[in-house]
C-alpha cells in the first residue's frame, strides 16, 4: 500500500456473491423478515422479478470492501448509498455476483478520505451515490492485527 493516497486511486475491488442462504441469514441477523426477500410466491404477487436481496445487505456487503481496506471498521465515519436497482437472487447454488470497487475521491487536510464505491451486478449499478468518508487505513500499523479475511 502506498504511503499517500491520491484522488482517483482505486484502493480495492472485490466480487461478492449473494445466495438465498445469505438472505435467510441476513433476515435473521437484521430482523428484516419482509417475505419479498425469501418467498418467490410473495415476490411475484407484488410484481417483482423474483426474490430480492435486502438493500441493506447489499450496502453491508459493499462496506466489507471498506472495512477490509481500513483494518478498523470504526474508521468509516460516514457511509451512504442510494438503492437504485433491486438485486434479484436466483434460487440456485451460485446466487448473484456483486462487484464492488472503491476509488479515492478526496483527501482532506483533516486527514479524512472520501471514497466512492461502484457497486454493480453485471453492467448495472445497483447502488449509486455510494460514498464514504473514512480515516486513513491502519492495517499495517505496528501492533495492530490485520483483518482475518
Amino acid at each position: 500500500m502506498p504511503d499517500t493516497l491520491a484522488v482517483g486511486q482505486v484502493v480495492a475491488a472485490q466480487e461478492y456473491r449473494i445466495t438465498r442462504e445469505n438472505l435467510v441469514r441476513y433476515a435473521g441477523a437484521s430482523g428484516d423478515f419482509n417475505p419479498i426477500h425469501w418467498n418467490d410466491r410473495v415476490a411475484e404477487s407484488v410484481g417483482l422479478p423474483g426474490v430480492l436481496a435486502h438493500g441493506m445487505l447489499t450496502m453491508g456487503l459493499a462496506s466489507r470492501l471498506l472495512t477490509d481496506w481500513l483494518g478498523d471498521p470504526a474508521a468509516v465515519v460516514e457511509y451512504g448509498v442510494r438503492f437504485s436497482r433491486p438485486v434479484v437472487v436466483p434460487d440456485d447454488d451460485d446466487g448473484v455476483a456483486v462487484h464492488v470497487s472503491a476509488t479515492v475521491t478526496d483527501v482532506g487536510d483533516d486527514g479524512l478520505v472520501g471514497v466512492e464505491l461502484a457497486v454493480r451486478v453485471e453492467d448495472q449499478k445497483v447502488l449509486t451515490q455510494a460514498r464514504a468518508v473514512t480515516r486513513p487505513p491502519k492495517n499495517d500499523t505496528e501492533g495492530v492485527a490485520a483483518p482475518l479475511g
Binding site: 441477523a29 437484521s30 462496506s63 472495512t67 477490509d68 471498521p73 451512504g80 492485527a145 483483518p147
Partner: protein
C-alpha cells in the same frame, strides 16, 4: 391516500436498544465480514476501542425500531415501503454493551408521481445522551391502491 403533510416535524419517543456481543457477531457473519474487530475484544482494544465494535450498517437495527413507530403512526403497511437511500454519520462507533436511545424525526414529505417520499432522521445516542450516529433515510411509500399491483 397521501400521507398527512402536517405530520412533518413529528418526533417519535426514543427507542432503547442494547448492542450485544452475539448480535454483532451474527450480523457480521450475515454480511460475511470476517474482521476480527467484531469478535475479538483484544484486537478491538489495539485499535483503541473499549470492546468489540459493530459493522457500519449495524445501526440499521436500532433505526428500524424508529421506522416501525413512524409507520404505525402514519398507517403505512410494510409492503408499500421502498427504501430509496440510507446514510450513517458516526460521531463514534457502536460498541458492545452500548445502551442506545434512537429518536426518530419525520423531517420532510414530498410527493412524486402519486407516491410519498419521506425523509427520516434517526438520532442514535448513548446512555449518557452522547451522540453516536445520525442516520438519514428516504422511504418511498407507494399509494395504497397500487400496493398489490
Amino acid at each position: 391516500m397521501a400521507i398527512d403533510p402536517s405530520a412533518v416535524g413529528r418526533i417519535y419517543p426514543p427507542q432503547p436498544y442494547e448492542v450485544s456481543r452475539e448480535k454483532v457477531r451474527e450480523f457480521a457473519e450475515a454480511i460475511g465480514d470476517a474482521n476480527a474487530v467484531y469478535v475479538d475484544a483484544e484486537v478491538a482494544r489495539k485499535y483503541g476501542h473499549r470492546d468489540v465494535v459493530a459493522p457500519p450498517t449495524f445501526a440499521m437495527i436500532p433505526v428500524m425500531r424508529g421506522f416501525d413507530l413512524l409507520m404505525a403512526d402514519l398507517g403505512i403497511e410494510f409492503a408499500r415501503v421502498v427504501h430509496v437511500d440510507q446514510r450513517f454519520t458516526y460521531t463514534r462507533p457502536l460498541v458492545v454493551g452500548d445502551r442506545l436511545e434512537t429518536t426518530t424525526t419525520l423531517d420532510a414529505i414530498r410527493q412524486v408521481a402519486g407516491s410519498d417520499l419521506l425523509t427520516i432522521v434517526n438520532d442514535v445516542r448513548g446512555a449518557d445522551g452522547d451522540q453516536v450516529c445520525i442516520a438519514q433515510a428516504t422511504l418511498l411509500i407507494r399509494p395504497e391502491e397500487n400496493a398489490n399491483a
